[in-house]
């Protein structure tokens, strides 16, 4: 009896703490106002992912995700350098966002249903469609998955990567021999030593590994993608104004590429296209509707450039193909919503 009362007490206390915690988080004002009052953006990032987030020798941050942090800061505060970068691990990234420690999480996070709903998060438009791909020696002359029929393929054991590989080949009715290793390093060493015809993993990882191989030019990453890893900026549920800002900053980078607006020509860009005129803040007053200045998009493009510039600057050196991350006009998935 006494024991049951103790448990009841424990349950009530824990429940109260959690309720208080969640209401405290909900009762806050929009992150947009918080960021503006604070004078800088707090952005959760990855501090060690080639191409996406890392430190330069002079102590400054660089990378694809880092550039999107700067883009948001440029839109909201007019200054791409008004960012405090908080390096986070995979384990703590969502908690840091939920508890309000960071304003936005731009750290190669995959958009899934559970995260979108159960974790109380909102995903802005996908900035990078990652997915499982294949790397092969250039000499083999392989251009598509069908050419890999009967090939031996290096893969890490016990991961979804291994399951995706089997599914993809079974669906196409192709035979293959998996060459399985526990360690990621071993997988790539085996591939480089020619113990398998191809190696499979997420494309961003393949590109990072390719760049450190003895002769990167001797390997190609196939265009085909067999799994979905849409990476997107993340904000908290229930803060629609902030969500809109982050989303439209991403769209702005897509739109600028589509219309040929670059960091070089954005200040002098002239076009009869009404969409472009509204984008540049010449007409329409779109900035005010977002709660930003009317030249917000110019600030974004000036700071980081359009999507192609961001991609080429950060992921180009890794030899990563655009793949799905092409404009919708080129058969890719980047599709900016209309600026009107």
């Amino acid at each position: 009896m006494a024991q049951r009362r103790v448990w009841l007490l424990v349950t009530v206390v824990v429940g109260t703490v959690l309720t208080l915690a969640s209401t405290a988080a909900l009762a806050q004002q929009s992150t947009l106002d918080v960021v503006r009052a604070r004078g800088h953006l707090v952005c959760g990032v990855n501090n060690g992912l080639p191409g996406f987030g890392y430190l330069e020798s002079d102590g400054s941050w660089s990378g694809f995700d880092i550039d999107y942090c700067r883009a948001v800061a440029a839109a909201v505060l007019g200054d791409p350098n008004a960012v405090e970068f908080v390096p986070l691990t995979a384990a703590e990234r969502f908690i840091a966002l939920q508890t309000g420690e960071i304003d936005v999480l731009i750290r190669n996070a995959t958009w899934t249903l559970v995260r979108d709903t159960d974790l109380g998060l909102n995903f802005a438009p996908v900035t990078f469609f990652d997915g499982q791909g294949f790397m092969v020696p250039r000499d083999l002359g392989v251009t598509s998955l069908e050419d890999l029929a009967g090939a031996s393929i290096c893969v890490t054991s016990g991961t979804t990567t291994e399951l995706n590989l089997a599914d993809a080949f079974r669906a196409r009715g192709l035979p293959f021999t998996p060459v399985v290793f526990e360690e990621i390093d071993t997988v790539y060493r085996a591939y480089e030593q020619g113990r398998c015809d191809a190696v499979t993993s997420d494309k961003s990882q393949l590109a990072g590994r390719r760049a450190i191989m003895a002769d990167p030019e001797a390997h190609v990453i196939l265009d085909e993608t067999i799994s979905k890893e849409p990476l997107a900026p993340v904000v908290r549920h229930g803060d629609d104004r902030w969500y809109d800002v982050v989303s439209w900053v991403v769209y702005a980078t897509f739109f600028a590429e589509e219309k040929g607006i670059t960091s070089q020509n954005v200040t002098t860009f002239q076009s009869p296209d009404p969409d472009v005129q509204r984008f540049l803040g010449q007409t329409g007053g779109l900035g005010a509707m977002l709660g930003l200045s009317n030249d917000w998009a110019i600030k974004v493009i000036q700071a980081v450039g359009n999507y192609a510039e961001i991609f080429d600057r950060n992921l180009g050196p890794l030899g990563l193909p655009r793949g799905l991350n092409r404009q919708w006009t080129d058969g890719g998935l980047l599709y900016a919503m209309p600026f009107r």
Binding site: V17, A21, A24, A25, N47, G48, L49, P50, G51, G53, Y54, L55, E56, S57, D58, G59, S60, S62, G63, E84, V86, P87, L88, T89, A91, E92, I95, A96, T99, G100, E101, G208, A211, I212, M213, P317, L318
Partner: protein, 401 residues
């Protein structure tokens, strides 16, 4: 009272005079020792040239180009003088203390001179060279000053010196952290501290804070009051029952859930985690020492009219701590190396910065060079700590009485 240290290394026995006889006696005295010697030499001969060849051809540019980053992390580059000033403070205090406690002049002045020579000839930029030379001068001048002042008024001066060490802690914190709105020392929050600087800050805070906490816990565990004894025992056993990494994760992940209104810096969370963890082990080390103090000592102290606190502070603790000094230093060395675990909770200490450097497309694939450098830095600090503790043990006459 410090006795002169007996020289232990410079023994001139006939064995060392004749190298062949020495080799025969130490390396080939039995058939299995001969076998081991041959095998070891063969292994070394096979590995050493390869290692040397690799080290020669390795691209050390990754280390030299990122040296400032590895040492100071993202600390603002125009504020680096503050870190240099902190180094100068600490090294001058070391010099003063060595002088006051009769350190070997040849060793200290000689080391300062050698360091100054390296600073003059080494590939340093102007400000770094100036600060390094200043630090060398600080050590040498401090040493001479410490000697002079001790000769003049020993007891007073040594007390002043202890006070200086105590004052230096808030001074260095102020220097590193600054405050918001200051033009002279603008605020540099702990989130910008990184690299070796952060490693040392974490280790020093952990050591300084866990030492008294550990002593209190050890005393509490031996307390006659059951409530205190149980609380201390439960704390010690709970903390010793989980790995440090899980405590760090709890500090990073659970604290913000329980305290949503307070934004505690990541670095501070790690400091708290490391301190609480280290204190539990410290408590057990100290308890071992306390148990080794004979009961007669306490009874004698009481007979002299000392009260409980005086007995503890003047009779029991000095003997207990002296006895477990090697264990305590061993724990501090492992604490220094354990700080590398904070890299997995997203802090950019030496190892975390190394990871970041390796993600820079310019330096991809340079793991071997970077990690070897990191290992060497850890080795230098761990080795210095253990050799300093050996000297302290000899000075205290440990293992001789």
């Amino acid at each position: 009272m410090v006795r002169p240290v007996p020289a232990t290394t410079a023994t001139t026995s006939p064995e060392t005079a004749n190298p062949i006889r020495w080799i025969r006696k130490n390396l080939f005295n039995t058939w299995y020792n001969s076998l081991l010697t041959v095998a070891a030499v063969a292994a070394l001969a096979a590995l050493a040239p390869r290692l040397a060849r690799w080290a020669w051809h390795a691209d050390w540019a990754v280390v030299s180009a990122n040296m400032t980053l590895l040492l100071t992390g993202t600390y603002p580059r125009d504020q680096l003088w503050r870190l240099w000033a902190a180094l100068l403070t600490v090294m001058s205090l070391f010099g003063l203390s060595a002088g006051a406690w009769r350190g070997n002049p040849r060793r200290w002045i000689g080391a300062a001179a050698v360091a100054a020579m390296l600073a003059t000839t080494g590939p340093f930029q102007a400000p770094a060279r100036g600060w390094l030379l200043g630090t060398c001068a600080g050590v040498a001048a401090g040493f001479m000053l410490g000697r002079g002042l001790t000769a003049w008024r020993r007891a007073l001066w040594r007390r002043v010196l202890v006070a200086l060490w105590v004052v230096s802690v808030p001074w260095i914190y102020l220097l590193l952290h600054g405050w918001a709105g200051s033009s002279w020392l603008p605020r540099v929050g702990p989130s910008a501290w990184g690299g070796l600087t952060l490693t040392l800050v974490l280790a020093i805070v952990g050591i300084v804070a866990s030492f008294p906490l550990g002593i209190l816990l050890a005393l509490g565990r031996r307390s006659r009051l059951p409530a205190i004894r149980w609380v201390c025992t439960a704390y010690i056993e709970c903390v010793r029952g989980v790995p440090l990494i899980s405590i760090l994760f709890m500090a990073q992940v659970l604290l913000p859930i329980f305290l949503p209104d307070y934004r505690i810096e990541h670095v501070v969370r790690a400091m708290v985690g490391i301190t609480l963890f280290s204190a539990a082990y410290m408590a057990e080390n100290v308890r071992g020492g306390l148990q080794g103090v004979p009961r007669g000592q306490i009874e004698a102290a009481h007979a002299l009219g000392l009260n409980g606190i005086q007995t503890l502070a003047l009779i029991v603790l000095p003997q207990a701590l002296r006895a477990v000094l090697p264990a305590i230093v061993g724990q501090f060395i492992s604490l220094l190396k354990d700080t590398s675990l904070v890299a997995v909770v997203g802090l950019l200490e030496l190892l975390g910065i190394a990871r970041s450097v390796l993600a820079n497309p310019t330096w991809l694939g340079r793991q071997a060079e970077v990690y070897l450098f990191v290992a060497m830095v850890y080795f230098i600090f761990s080795f210095s700590m253990s050799s300093a503790s050996r000297r302290l043990e000899r000075a205290l006459g440990l293992g001789e009485r």
